[in-house]
Symmetry: D2
Subunit: 133 residues, 4 copies
């Protein structure tokens, strides 16, 4: 099972070669994860950061860029949960356009307490929802 | 052997958690590679893109974030050439602050012809200089 | 008459003070104009730049930030055409959240030929549609 | 009198038209002001935000873009203090390349207390240094 969302490639994402500047892909990845937390987990980043004082920094990310994306492309991002650890989360995110693979990302996040900087275990309801993706 | 440059963490790089937003690290990595081409290879990106009509898109990048970086940190980026292929280039880039490791990135670039999109072999003088890093 | 679209304030837009970093507002403004061209004028930026070889650089922009925007805010952008010149376009764009004004921007774009860099008059059908906003 | 710093136009700043994407200019402006506070006022943004819990949000900014800037251009930013108010600061910042004007920005910042969001008067030593620019 997986969860999907879409992002259009806009002018701001593109470099002088006319294709997506790859750091912008990581902004898109961050946006995809944020939407996933909001839409699928019903847990928005504002509540997470400013009410619960938690964060989910990325500790590891591996990306392969299969084919360039261009201005006007509508990218479909497919997010799958690979593993839910005690306080970590491993995601597989694939972007495609008209079924052509563009990018594959494996990302590991860790839930932390923003005050102490220490890792913070996922509450059971959140861990359960993560496992249902 | 390796090549080094420094980047200060500025307000624009930081997120609401007060640390470097990781897509901004990739902008820094791009800047480091651009400076390396300019300073070490004497080959600037303007000439590469607009005169020679070549590009060096990233096809693969793996990053580990060891410790967060904060506003005001001076980051030292250490770039080592791991492998020079026919038209590819594998780099190991490590960022640190006061000798504390912050990030390790392994990046593979491919030299391409911007017109055709095809890979383009490194000219021998450039390949030689790359191997001398 | 005016035209509207919405943008959610995401993590990537916010600074260490927890509010929208104002250069990100200008990325939003660019996105709003791009959507307006696509949705209202049926003229997408990819066609404009890569087929017609035209651009619409901003030559003047004045912005007032009335109140800060925060992570999770849904911003409504209201775009009104103030004046359609021979090759210029003056826009008034206002962002609000729940009817509270956040930002007012007056922007002047000029249509140019990307080859020569010279200004290029709006084709009549486009000028007519611009005047109908 | 004025204060100067330089920023090189890098790949990350440029758009598909091969020129600086104007929201990136505002990131440069922010960087210029941050360096000015650090170098001229001896007051760094990390201390300001995280120790003193103050911020200097931009409340008004007017920009004119005189000529496009391209990859590889070295921009000189000239910062002049126009007016030091009780808690406000009006700056005139001009960017040029080889004496050719590229951009003129008039910016108004307000010093605020990050806790209350209220404006906070400049301490006299800081106001005096601002007036000496």
């Amino acid at each position: 099972m997986s969860w999907q969302t879409q992002i259009d490639v806009e002018f701001q994402h593109c470099d002088p070669a006319g294709i997506v500047f790859y750091p912008r892909y990581f902004e898109m990845i961050n946006s995809v994860i944020e939407r996933y937390f909001h839409d699928h987990l019903s847990y928005d980043f504002a509540t997470m950061h400013f009410v619960d004082k938690n964060g989910v920094p990325t500790v590891k990310i591996d990306a392969e860029f299969r084919a360039p994306s261009r201005l006007g492309d509508r990218l479909t991002f497919d997010l799958a949960v690979e593993r839910v650890g005690n306080s970590s989360l491993e995601l597989l995110i694939r972007a495609s356009c008209d079924a052509q693979p563009r990018m594959t990302v494996r990302s590991t996040l860790v839930r932390i307490d923003l005050g102490s900087g220490n890792s913070a275990p996922w509450p059971k309801p959140l861990a359960d929802k993560l496992r249902q993706t």
